[in-house]
């Protein structure tokens, strides 16, 4: 069995090498004063690329806009999803199954496919170029996955704890707030972070629904930068990419440490 084992290890190493190769450029070029498109050890090491990006117009405002949109999306989605998950998890409703199947099916719907009618809707509602409109729309598209995950987390909390609260005269919403929510806080955090990460990376939705360059989040801001300067200032493009990726990377590491790797996505698929 020595031979096959060696072959498998070599295949795995080759795959790892192929997967890491495109990433190298991002790191090397960002620290190189004369970075090109190929990954190489910076000949002229500098932090200047980051400095040039970090002004309000180029990097600052898009990152702040992105933070506003993504945090808003996460907060709205989490509140609405927790509220919806409660009756779905606790009561025997007649439409519970069809509703849950619809939710599960909608999690797979490619949002790209509905962007044209959504744009039409936004024109009617005069929401085009509105940060709030974009945020609420992103929250709505994040809801199916958020409701599904929240319901699964809530199912894991025994009902007997709430029953004691009802005996003491608490309403269901009071029980949700003071008993269920504290117990599922880690789950809520996971849903929030997951929603934040997908909103932070979403390019097509703000690209279509926002017009004013001053309102664009980092996903579109970095693309405009690529269009305007990307063909000359590769070092700055790489530096911008790293700045834009860091929050997502940090949040991902946080969640995966928490859940012991694999992210909750794999669990969501199995369920």
């Amino acid at each position: 069995m020595r031979g096959p084992r060696l072959v498998v290890n070599l295949v795995l190493l080759a795959v790892a090498l192929l997967f890491v190769a495109p990433l190298l450029w991002l790191v090397t070029a960002s620290f190189d004063a004369r970075g090109g498109l190929a990954a190489k050890v910076p000949g002229d090491f500098t932090l200047g690329n980051f400095g040039q990006i970090l002004n309000w117009q180029v990097g600052g405002r898009p990152l702040v806009n992105g933070l506003f949109i993504s945090a808003g999306t996460a907060i709205i989605a989490v509140i609405v999803a927790v509220l919806a998950a409660y009756p779905l998890s606790r009561y025997q409703l007649r439409f519970r199954r069809p509703f849950l199947y619809t939710i599960l099916f909608t999690t797979g719907l490619p949002v790209t496919a509905i962007m044209v009618p959504v744009y039409g809707l936004f024109v009617r509602l005069e929401l085009v170029d509105s940060l709030w409109g974009t945020t609420v729309f992103l929250a709505a598209t994040a809801l199916p996955m958020a409701i599904w995950m929240c319901k699964n987390f809530m199912d894991g909390i025994p009902v007997s704890l709430e029953e004691a609260a009802w005996v003491d005269g608490a309403s269901s919403m009071q029980a949700l707030r003071s008993i269920v929510l504290p117990l599922m806080a880690p789950g809520v955090a996971v849903v929030g972070i997951f929603t934040f990460i997908s909103a932070w990376g979403n390019f097509f939705v703000p690209f279509v629904l926002l017009l004013d360059p001053d309102k664009m989040p980092a996903s579109v801001g970095i693309f405009s930068f690529f269009g305007q300067n990307g063909l000359v200032a590769y070092g700055q493009l790489a530096a911008y990419s790293i700045l834009y990726t860091t929050p997502v990377l940090a949040l991902y590491l946080l969640v995966s440490r928490w859940l012991g790797g694999g992210f909750s996505m794999a669990g969501a698929v199995k369920a």
Binding site: V8, L13, V20, P22, A38, G108, V116, A140, L143, F226
Partner: protein, 289 residues
């Protein structure tokens, strides 16, 4: 679980999500079916008073070589990058990593997942630089005299590779979770009966994880059907429209040329294509049981 309480107790907490999903998800899908039959546009008379034009948009769509070629490109993109690439490589990695040392598992896992965690646009930049004429790949291939601008000479291959690179981690994670739940006595029994590693995988493991395979295929197919940013950054649908999949064609017609009705008809084609793929997957599950 409790019996259903009064209307006033269960409806209010569900109401916000019903309103949001109804307005922003169900509404637009319904509107697709309506607008695809009108001549609505971004500007001009048709913008204010869209007229019913029957099947005109679909006649245009299916007789125009644009939609036919985009549909074909989309199917090729999905089959190569999702079904074959992400799914195949994902399952291969999961199987290969199953009984490896902690170090190898950690290194390969981290590297593959890293490409997945990157935001879509950044992933596209990384691949853009990697495959460009002056990029890392050519730097290496140049030693063998094989360098070329891959984004120009083989654009479809480039976007397929980009999507495989970016999406394989998801399938790998799904299959790792599934493999860890395959009963080991089943596999060992097959080993005692003299089945080789390939036979064990094909006849024992695969039937057990069949449901996961179908679910994963469905999810990554729908995900890949909607890919826009990755292709838009890499090739913008070019050169010569050779990577203009349905989402890019839809964007071009609806937002660049202002043909909302026509764009919606293309969106509907995309939704129907997703439904067809899903039906095939669901049926394959039923047929085998």
């Amino acid at each position: 679980m409790r019996r259903a309480p009064r209307f006033g107790v269960w409806l209010p907490p569900l109401a916000p999500s019903i309103v949001l999903l109804g307005l922003f998800v169900a509404g637009p899908i319904m509107w697709c079916f309506y607008a695809a039959f009108t001549n609505s546009a971004l500007s001009g008379i048709a913008a204010r008073r869209p007229k019913f034009v029957g099947l005109d948009n679909f006649t245009t769509a299916f007789t125009s070589s644009d939609v036919a070629s985009s549909l074909w490109l989309t199917v090729v993109f999905v089959l190569l990058s999702a079904v074959l690439g992400q799914n195949g490589l994902g399952i291969l990695l999961a199987v290969f990593l199953q009984h490896r040392g902690k170090l190898l598992r950690g290194v390969v896992g981290t590297v593959v997942v890293a490409a997945w965690v990157l935001p879509e646009v950044v992933a596209a930049f990384a691949i853009y630089a990697f495959l460009n004429a002056g990029g890392t790949l050519n730097e290496v291939l140049g030693w063998f005299g094989l360098g070329q601008n891959w984004l120009y000479t083989a654009p479809m291959l480039a976007v397929v590779l980009a999507n495989v690179w970016r999406g394989t981690a998801f399938s790998m994670l799904v299959y790792q979770a599934a493999l860890s739940e395959v009963p080991s006595d089943l596999v060992e029994a097959a080993e005692v009966d003299g089945a080789g590693p390939v036979g064990r995988f094909w006849h024992v493991v695969l039937p057990v994880i069949r449901r996961t395979v179908v679910t994963n295929l469905m999810l990554i197919t729908l995900q890949t059907l909607g890919v826009f940013g990755l292709i838009y950054v890499l090739t913008a649908g070019g050169p010569d429209n050779r990577t203009r999949t349905l989402p890019l064609l839809m964007y071009e017609q609806a937002f660049k040329f202002g043909q909302i009705g026509y764009g919606t008809a293309i969106a509907l084609v995309l939704l129907v294509l997703g439904a067809v793929f899903s039906l095939v997957y669901i049926r394959s599950l039923r047929a085998e049981v």
